[in-house]
């Protein structure tokens, strides 16, 4: 299982992120979004940002999670390379508790290839594929980013 892969899209960035659990798919989706902008191997883990989100549906939760990561990138002027997510059911629907690891942008070490403007809902989906007999199930999140 690859953590994520980019698919062809003429004007924007489209990716599929995979995980053996929903949590892992959420984490890899955030990583795919960040990696579209900057090489994650250049990011040092110097600081952690906590994230708490509640949403009515899983799709809505993923959309808000990725939008929150983008928001933090911009207002904190920080880049990230480590995402840890815990998901649980709650009264509203779903709750995400996350920790994002990274550091402040250093223009000497972080070179941006593109700027992600936003997460779109175009072709947005989360699906579970049952593995072959006895194989593990794989969660896939498909996202198109506006760049």
């Amino acid at each position: 299982m690859k953590p994520f892969e980019y698919l062809e899209h003429t004007a924007d960035v489209k990716f599929q992120a995979h995980g053996r659990s929903l949590e892992e798919a959420f984490e890899n989706a955030a990583l795919a979004m960040l990696a579209a902008m900057v090489d994650p191997s250049t990011v040092r883990l110097e600081k952690t940002w906590p994230v708490e989100i509640e949403a009515e549906s899983l799709e809505s939760l993923l959309y808000e999670w990725l939008s929150e990561v983008l928001y933090l990138f911009e207002v904190e002027l920080a880049v990230f390379s480590k995402f840890e997510v815990a998901l649980e059911r709650c009264e509203v629907g779903w709750r995400l508790s996350g920790r994002i690891g990274g550091e402040r942008v250093d223009p000497k070490r972080h070179f941006f290839e593109t700027e992600v403007k936003a997460v779109t809902l175009h072709q947005f989906e989360i699906k579970k594929e049952e593995g072959e007999e006895g194989g593990e199930e794989i969660w896939t999140a498909q996202v198109v980013l506006d760049v």
Binding site: Y6, E8, H9, T10, A11, D12, V13, M37, E56, S60, Y63, E64, S67, L70, Y71, F73, E74, V75, L77, V105, P107, F111, F112, E113, T114, E115, K117, A118, V119, T120, L121, H122, Q123, F124, V144, D146, V147
Partner: protein, 473 residues
Amino acid sequence: MLNKVDDYVFEVPMGHQKGMRVPGRIFISEKLLEQVEPGTIDQVANVATLPGIVNYSMAMPDAHLGYGFPIGGVAAFREDGGVISPGGVGFDINCGVRMLRTDLVAKDVTPMISNLVEDLFHDVPSGVGAKGRLRVSEHELDEAFTRGAAWAVEAGFGVPADLEHCEENGQLAGAKTEHVSLKARKRGRPQLGTLGSGNHFLEIQRVDKIFDEELAKKFGLFEGQVTVMIHCGSRGAGHQICTDHLQVLSKAVRKYGIELPDKQLACAPLGTPEADNYFGAMAAAANYAWANRQIISHWTREVFERYFADAKLDLVYDVAHNVAKIEEHSVDGSKERLYVHRKGATRAFGPGRPEIPDAYRDVGQPVIIPGSMGTPSYVLCGSEGAMRLTFGSACHGAGRIMSRTQAKKTYAGTEVKDSLTRRGIKVMATHPKMLAEEAPEVYKPSDEVVDVVHNLDIARKVARVVPLGVSKG
């Protein structure tokens, strides 16, 4: 399959997609149509399923794959029974372009081009996450959201004549800051007066060809003249406003029982609180973008004055190419108020419209079509065909034909820079990597796109301008 209706007019028939309420119309040449992906045509059909759509779901000759609406998409909705959708505006609300004309000619400016571009690159912050030189207060931010370029001019960035030469006078009515989230404010405050990145640019240009002497004179343009073009939008504030309201409108879709073929087309019936609130927040973002381009214009003038003491940089015009607006159009012989969505399309009003400044009203509005980096840009003049065919709309640029991933595989940023330098174009960017995905070759040839709108009398060709120097994020 598409049906050819006329030269440059192709119809997406009703059967293309379940639930279409009107057919689609793509205004394009056969040659350009060959480069349009099937997905783009599907997106034109998807828009045609939205409630209250009038006449056709349209696409301009620069149409390419987007999200929700295609890029180059135009659709109008009637006030009674129609909808408003952020999918028809995009995240970069009021991304747009303005052109300033100087009284200088290329041979005066060329020896100074490196200094000018370096100073512009330094004085107008750009790049991913760039913070501005400005430190605006919360009150000033409110003013920018509410009054756009009018606030910027009052605050000392520009002259009153600038406002007259902006679409909507740089101030879209109906902005509601109470529907702009704290997050949008936090992103917007440090970024006012920044160019951004991607395809946004600040370019010094030379008028290289005049197609229509009379119209060129009207717009104050002549061959050899130096012009400046600013292409940018509402930055993080606009992106966040769209993100926030897309969530609200997704819920509205369920609440009002609207069936959608694409979740990005989330919308709400006009007259509902969800629709009103989105319109108010979108207008605030549009005003932020006009304030942004106004501030950048002021700094551009300061740079020119450093090298040319008497330099006069007058605004030719400022157009929005990602916006939804209330406009009056003729439908089946009677005047109707419509919500016109333009997503990667430029307003191109023909002669006589009251929205056009006095100086241009008898000929039509200037339509400014930015090229991609290193390729020509065009100035057109809105015409009768636009009023008849496209709710007063024209193309907005060249249109991508190669994905960013493919562009990065094919071109190296440094090569792109070298090739522009060899052609005498001075380029400054935060990092050469950023240049690869904007290589000139990844776009359709802009002359073919412009010829289509000219031949349909949507907008007439006035002048072509070529780059002398570019500052990019």
